[in-house]
Symmetry: C2
């Protein structure tokens, strides 16, 4: 297969002390990183100096889970950290080029608020905003928003589709050249360049116009992460970046081909959507050093946390069994049978103890884990990129800032030697970094088409 005639795109997925479940206990971690703005500012500035495309923030509108004994032993589960839109806005003021992507759920928000905040962030940052459009599946989040029971999966996606349409329509409330601001004539804007949405749908009625001028990027970049069938359809219609998780090259290539293949059906080109799987890299100067780093983290997993995660995945309470003994025979679960099966197959196949099983699944929480030298990690990334399993990667450092520093200092030079990653930015907006075209305003496009036809 010929080498691809383009470079990787890289995101720095920020998570308070790091992505490893026990990161906050690492000797070098800042345990209060989730509310330390200087920590995040330094990370974003380091990622920008290294020419990453974007920083990425996940979100949950509520703590995930009820088991306080477990929750009180983890810095994960969205318990006590900055809210992403406020944090990204502050980061906009201390960075100049890097993209700023934040997660906001369509399940418990109003499209007017979301359109407005990301448009405002795009103006604040000079065209660097991205919205990671998700649906919320957790009952714990629903209960913070007047709902005792959650939306069904189907209803969530129907709402998300309509939500995304309304947000996109609101971003086009004003044409790019609507604001004349002509002091002499007193004309602040051109009335014909203002568009009232007037949306009346099943879930939303939104009049508009949005009270923010058209964003510098035309529309902030829409990121999407669903991998269910409706999730992939939404991504094919609206997504411009897809954040995903695949363990094997085969799965990654299949997912890539599937998703890119859906674009034509929506009048889009393959290059209009970039697929960036997550990668959890543990880098060492030698393979032994990398393994040692990883084992140091693994040993920090609190058994209460590890057991709670394995119990959640297998649907069974394992706390009564010896940690260093085998997985017991389990009754069938009420939850996801396929997930329980995967866990148990893994444990039986490799003859894992309970502790070994939770160490296997808890650390990187299901993401693609690479433990090795810079060359080994660059090999794996290159292979997946060249095989069209990815257009780039969302880098999930095990510990922050150390894991990001390692990736920047050790892996990026190796990728650059191979011509796989930029040495400087060529544009100023997130769209330009990602090689995504700036969407023309629909009315301006219609006028241009009419002029061409005449």
């Amino acid at each position: 297969m010929a080498r691809r005639n383009e470079q990787m795109r890289l995101g720095a997925f920020l998570y308070p002390s790091g992505h490893h479940i026990a990161a906050w206990r690492h000797p070098e971690a800042k345990a209060d990183a989730g509310i330390d703005f200087r920590h995040y500012a330094a990370l974003a500035q380091a990622a920008e100096a290294a020419k990453f495309d974007l920083v990425f923030l996940a979100d949950g509108v509520g703590t995930r889970g009820d088991d306080v004994e477990f929750l009180s032993r983890t810095a994960h589960s969205y318990q006590a950290q900055f809210e992403p839109i406020t944090l990204l806005s502050a980061l906009a003021a201390v960075t100049e080029r890097i993209g700023l992507v934040g997660t906001a759920s369509t399940s418990f928000n109003e499209p007017y608020h979301i359109a407005r905040k990301f448009a405002s962030l795009d103006h604040l940052s000079g065209g660097r905003a991205g919205w990671n459009l998700v649906t919320s599946s957790s009952e714990h989040e629903a209960r913070n928003f007047n709902r005792v029971r959650h939306f069904s999966h189907e209803e969530r996606y129907q709402r998300a589709e309509e939500f995304a349409d309304v947000v996109s329509g609101l971003w086009d409330s004003w044409e790019d050249d609507a604001f004349l601001r002509d002091k002499a004539s007193g004309r602040y804007y051109e009335p014909a360049r203002r568009h009232v949405l007037g949306h009346r749908g099943r879930h939303f009625s939104v009049q508009g116009p949005l009270n923010v001028a058209r964003p510098p990027q035309g529309q902030p970049v829409v990121v999407q992460a669903g991998s269910s069938e409706p999730g992939k359809e939404l991504a094919a219609r609206r997504g411009e970046v897809v954040f995903t998780a695949q363990q094997t090259l085969e799965d990654a290539v299949a997912f890539y081909a599937d998703l890119k293949g859906r674009l034509a059906g929506h009048g889009r080109r393959p290059e209009d959507l970039k697929i960036l799987p997550g990668v959890f890299p543990v880098v060492g100067h030698s393979e032994a050093e990398a393994r040692e780093k990883f084992e140091q983290l693994q040993a920090l997993i609190d058994p209460v946390v590890g057991l709670a995660l394995v119990s959640a995945l297998t649907g069974a309470d394992l706390s009564a069994y010896p940690l260093d003994g085998p997985i017991p025979e389990l009754p069938p679960t009420n939850g996801s049978k396929s997930r329980q099966g995967l866990m148990l197959d893994l444990a039986r196949r490799e003859n894992l103890t309970i502790r070994q099983l939770y160490q296997r699944v808890a650390g990187a929480r299901g993401h693609w884990q690479l433990v090795g030298t810079p060359a080994q990690i660059a090999d794996a990334l290159e292979e997946r990129f060249q095989a069209y399993g990815a257009d780039g990667f969302n880098v999930m450092a095990p510990v922050l800032p150390g894991g990001l520093t390692d990736f920047i200092e050790l892996v990026l030079p190796e990728l650059r030697r191979r011509g796989l990653f930029r040495t400087d930015y060529s544009g100023t907006t997130l769209r330009e970094h990602l090689g995504l075209r700036r969407p023309p305003h629909p009315a301006a496009r219609r006028r241009a088409d009419a002029a061409d036809a005449a």
Copy 2:
């Protein structure tokens, strides 16, 4: 009456090009100020260097009005500017001491989102956040949020009361010392210091806990601006700063006494709430220079804009009558009769033309207007402060940055000579600037009370 044994508190009320309705047309104004972050950063930094207590941002969740001919000639009416929470978050990163107060409506928001964003802003800024709690009265805003008709006034305030209770309860989800972050024991927080709200009310069901640690200020400062009866009751119960508009000393003193008198009924002390009326100052080295500055702005009011504002206030279309002729006899309005009466009384008493009437009411849009020398303006502010008509002022510069610079360079030195305003900050949080106590966590207070009783 003895001189007050305290100093004024001052807010800098930022509005894109300035508060005068024609500010954007002023030769020195930045007409695109509403989406220029450097403009806002410079204003906030100037206000901070001058030791203002806070910057203040108003908000509307939608354009106010339908008359596009009018709207297209004004930079007001919340048409195309930054959203306040994103803007304040960005300003947090470029300032260190000044308070950051933003408006967010209780009518079209969820309390979990509002509690979370202001808590996050309080962490980002090291304890400088304030929430201006408003209800929305505009049908134009309602139509952006699935509502064809607006809530009634009574329903709006009932919702606001419950909303404020939920937000306050969520801010107390964690005690100040809940997060142990003890790497050795693996204990991230102390379960007994986590409090689940479990609110079930008429308008909201919100489980909690909030997924942000207790804010540095305990609770961000709550600002309120309603002057209706339910508005004043809400302020007396929950408000810590009240932003208000009174034209005369007599009205200001009466409002102040009324509001402060309501506090005891809610177990609060007079000093727990600060009353900061708006003031629109036009400062000149001489009175003639001040008048000239003001007339320059007045002459920039577009007749379309002036007529639309007067028509809105009188409930009558005056566009068919000569601008420099008298106000015609008008049929009774369907809108506010008292407001129409006030307008017409004013016009008849002073024999005003239509142009003179709109110039009178449009410029400062009903706020207390002071046109004069630094000494004259300081005299008026001092008089109102010493007479207990205000605890300070929210300064509404006619043009920005010029009007704020004038106030800082000309009026502040005069206030400082009289001992009426600080020369430096003595604290680091907005509460400390305002002389408001930090609220203890209710559970911590109960434990302390129990210990005292034992």
